[in-house]
Amino acid sequence: MASGSVADQEGKVMLLGFWFSPFVKRVEWALKFKGVEYDYVEQELTNKSTLLLTSNPIHKKVPVLIHNGNPIAESLVIMEYIDETWKQNPILPQDPYERAMARFWANFIEQKVTEPARDALLSQGEQQEKKVKELKEAMEVVEGEAKAKLNDKTLFFGGENGVGYVDIVLGWTCNWMETVEEVGGFKVLDPESQPQFHKWMANFREVPFIKPTLEPTEKLVEYFRMLRQARLGLVANK
């Protein structure tokens, strides 16, 4: 909890982030979708600020959203908080069953797409092969869901409301998957076997509040290459 300056913080929204983090980007997309004004504060990975360490003492990670002096961590938790606090432009569906489906898919994406992709980026050899295999299998499921839910009229998983929770949770793939592939040295994206997913990616990238936020791939590749080398270097030296 913030000390002393809670009164100053009334109504203020602050986001602690890293420019290269897909988890931070999700939160920015949610805030922009709702038209919520916020102060973005760039953090340093190797020199974490006192504010970050006191706002998220358990994980010491970004993103952290600070609203009215109260810090909230974990990107999916933050997204639900944003949806419940600012009612305009709902991110989650209104119907309880549809909300449960959205939460199910968000969990699937995190466990089966996001985490294996991150693990594949930061590993090599057999360990990486295992993660790439998991990722490919998960992408088949994602393509299946895209085929079932999307068409020429319904471009996003949010349905008739346009972009929604599942789109924002999966959205990191549109800017980071190619980077992860290039840096990690493997291929998961395949327009031939994933036509509907590729259509969705193309549409997502063009969404007016998303497009200006996308980072150039070369910049991400350079940064993640360094991260991967640092991680593999550490592992080799153990």
């Binding site: 908080y81 199910f104 499921v141």
Partner: protein, 233 residues
């Protein structure tokens, strides 16, 4: 019949299925429990959860809902009358969801790690990790409960259910390794909370007997020593 509108596919030993039992009990919802055999999954389970093929599944008006945390929130939203499972204030809800993620992704992973750890040193490291996790959750308990009986206050709610479902498996890890994990001295808040939780009206009749769970765990681990104590989610 009202009960047949709500079905739960679960197993008696699954802590995740127990969450659903308790949540429906809090809301006084009548339901039909279908005990699944994970070695021979029913057609209904495979059709209801084709992606993960796991329990628990809640089926309401013939629509399946999967993933225990999504189910808990669905129960709260589909049966909105009191008592509530999640708090009403968005910040308190965010705190509850944060700790639920910690319990599932960190604490439960470490608890599973105890079963798969090899050698005395490996076991000790795994057990220490669980204890450290419980110390962190002890601090969260004091902040959330503000001196009352449960994480959610006077009655049980989201976090109580999310953590409480693991009490039986914590007991199993303690007995199988001859250690104390939920230590009254180091975690007085959680130790007192655990007793009250197990005695709660919505819990006591559905929580599996911990010695039966221990017998079951001993049998499973003896039959497959390399199994890492996976609980179905």
């Amino acid at each position: 019949m009202a009960g047949s509108e709500v079905k739960v596919l679960g197993t008696w030993a699954s802590p995740f299925a127990l969450r659903v039992h308790i949540a429906l009990g809090i809301k006084s919802v009548k339901y039909e429990w279908v005990e699944e055999n994970l070695e021979a999954k029913s057609q209904l389970l495979l059709e209801s959860n084709p992606i993960n093929k796991q329990v628990p599944v809640l089926i309401h008006h013939h629509k399946p809902i999967c993933e225990s945390l999504a189910i808990l929130q669905y129960i709260d939203e589909a049966w909105p009358s009191a008592p509530s499972i999640l708090p009403s204030d968005p910040h308190h809800r965010a705190v509850a969801r944060f700790w639920a993620a910690y319990i599932d992704h960190k604490l439960f992973t470490w608890l599973k790690g105890v079963a798969s750890a090899e050698g005395a040193e490996g076991k000790k490291v795994a057990l220490d990790q669980v204890r450290e996790g419980l110390v962190v959750v002890e601090a969260a308990f004091w902040k959330c409960s503000k001196g009352r009986d449960f994480f959610s206050g006077a009655g049980i709610g989201y976090l109580d259910i999310v953590l409480g479902c693991f009490l039986g498996w914590l007991y199993v890890a303690e007995k199988r390794n001859d250690v104390k994990l939920l230590d009254e001295e180091k975690m007085p808040g959680l130790a007192a909370w655990a007793i009250k939780f197990c005695q709660h009206g919505a819990v006591k009749d559905v929580m599996p007997d911990k010695d039966e769970l221990l017998d079951y765990a001993n049998m499973v681990f003896q039959a497959m020593p390399k199994l890492n104590g996976q609980c179905p989610s």
